[in-house]
């Protein structure tokens, strides 16, 4: 396998979340009426999510549950910002990435309120 698929890089999966929210935020800040820019940005973000998903899937082959990040969030209730991925998660993350890319491709023509 390629050297980029180092086992520890499963933790990059968490960036699917951050990246998607960052993409949505940038979309909201884009000036109105820039349909082409908006759809290319959506495609780039979706493809990047899929690439991260594929990368995490490949990196996770043969591994059980991998903790991605574990931070205290609401300590008084013991709630943590705990992201992890097992085989089930990795398969469904892959699905999400594919669906996101396909979703962007099939809404390429929308001109109404593109942002």
């Amino acid at each position: 396998m390629f050297s980029i698929f180092h086992p520890n890089s499963v933790s990059l999966l968490a960036f699917t979340i951050y990246l998607s929210f960052a993409g949505a935020l940038i979309q909201a800040l884009l000036p109105k009426g820039r349909a082409a820019l908006s759809r290319w940005l959506a495609l780039v973000v979706a493809v990047a999510g899929l690439v991260l998903g594929v990368q995490g899937f490949v990196a996770g082959i043969g591994q059980g549950r991998v903790v991605l990040i574990d931070l205290p969030w609401v300590p008084s209730m013991g709630i943590r910002f705990l992201l992890a991925a097992d085989g089930i998660s990795r398969v469904l993350v892959l699905l999400t990435g594919l669906a996101a890319v396909a979703g962007v491709l099939f809404s390429w023509n929308i001109e109404l309120r593109t942002n």
Partner: protein, 390 residues
């Protein structure tokens, strides 16, 4: 929204999962209400109400579990090992399972799904059927089954063969499989055919989960993936490739348009997607459904017999839709003839081709080499069934 979906699949803290779950489903309302079509306000409101009731049930269950466990952690692993009393699990399981299953389109709480799918713009239908329904099924597995496994134990009494919550939900799943397929067969709107087919296919996911055995649950997870891809493809063909050019989704009108000749790409894409949808060997759906059925057979062959009816009807409704929409011999109406002379349909665009190739290719690849996903799913399912979350 997509960020929320990723978040749900990666959260191993109960409340974090719930937060992402809400982030993922709330935008659906706006997607339908603003960009939707057929009866969009009604569909959006219906979807919102069903989602909120489901979410409320889940939240009550989660708070009760947190309070009962008395632990100072909301991690899924810790809660699964907290030793929740069996009597508590017995009422909390159906509450949380139903709450999540509403979003997975479980009969009889499925009615938001077909109207929502039809009213939503194409990309939103793809995401609704493709991933949002999976969030519900995922919650059933990761939270309800993993945290409250004792809730599935037999009650000790049995009434017409139903003696546990497991029997109850398996029967609902089977009814959903058959009912969804039969209703799909009777639809006049192309998009409703696909909408009801989702209810039927999600029934397989829920049935697989209720087998509680390795092969059935593995099949359920594979079916989540497979249906996500195939439903996305079907909605894209119907809602985008065909509707954007014909401006109708009525099968009776499409019947007179000679689409196999005028839109050959759409016709062939639908043939491939249809084959994948009915579980043709060589596509991902085949392995998923066969595993669910084998798993179910080990528990109760009657479930399999009933689900078999759903598969046969599934072939029928796909065949009917394909024949009517694309391969009909009906003479074109005068209106269509005139249109044909005036202008042909717009050419298929590169994003459309790319999208079809991507989704159909993945379904075919997984169908030919299912091991690639099964190697990931199987150990995780094994660990989950063995002792809650691994």
């Amino acid at each position: 929204m997509i960020g929320g979906v990723y978040g749900v699949f990666l959260s191993f803290d109960l409340f974090l999962l719930f937060v992402f779950y809400e982030v993922a489903i709330i935008p659906k309302y706006f997607l339908i209400a603003i960009w939707g079509s057929t009866r969009r306000e009604y569909a959006a409101m219906k979807l919102a109400l069903y989602s909120f009731v489901g979410s409320a049930m889940v939240l009550i269950g989660l708070l009760a579990a947190y309070a009962t466990a008395g632990s100072h952690s909301t991690g899924l692993v810790e809660l699964a090992h907290a030793g929740l009393p069996a009597s508590f699990q017995m009422w909390c399981f159906p509450l949380v399972f139903t709450g999540f299953a509403i979003l997975a389109g479980m009969w009889p709480f499925h009615t938001w799904a077909p109207t929502g799918h039809v009213a939503a713009p194409t990309a939103a239908s793809m995401l609704l059927a493709g991933v949002v329904m999976k969030l519900g099924a995922y919650g059933c597995l990761r939270v309800a089954i993993a945290l409250f496994p004792r809730g599935l134990d037999p009650w000790g009494i049995s009434f017409i063969g139903i003696g546990s919550w497991r029997d109850v939900f398996a029967v609902l799943a089977v009814v959903g499989i058959v009912y969804g397929a039969l209703v799909a067969l009777a639809q006049t709107d192309f998009k409703f055919v696909i909408g009801y087919s989702s209810v039927s296919h999600m029934g397989f996911v829920l049935l697989g989960l209720m087998t509680l055995n390795q092969i059935g649950v593995t099949g359920a997870v594979l079916q989540m993936f497979s249906h996500g891809i195939i439903a996305g493809l079907l909605f894209a063909i119907v809602g985008r490739i065909v509707y954007d050019r014909t401006h109708t989704r009525q099968l009776a009108e499409l019947e007179t348009m000679h689409l196999s000749k005028r839109l050959p790409f759409a016709a062939w894409a639908f043939v491939i997607a249809g084959m994948a949808s009915i579980g043709m060997p060589g596509f991902s759906g085949f392995w998923a459904e066969i595993q669910v059925l084998v798993g179910a057979w080990q528990v109760n062959p009657w479930w399999v017999a009933a689900a078999g009816i759903g598969i046969v009807v599934g072939v029928a409704y796909i065949w009917r839709a394909m024949q009517k929409a694309f391969f009909s011999d009906l003479l074109p109406s005068a209106h269509v003839l005139e249109q044909e002379h005036e202008h042909n349909f717009a050419a298929i665009t590169w994003p459309e081709v790319t999208g079809v190739v991507l989704l159909a290719g993945v379904s075919l690849f997984v169908g030919l080499y299912p091991k690639i996903l099964l190697d990931a799913i199987e150990p995780a399912v094994k660990a989950l069934l063995a002792g809650g979350v691994q």
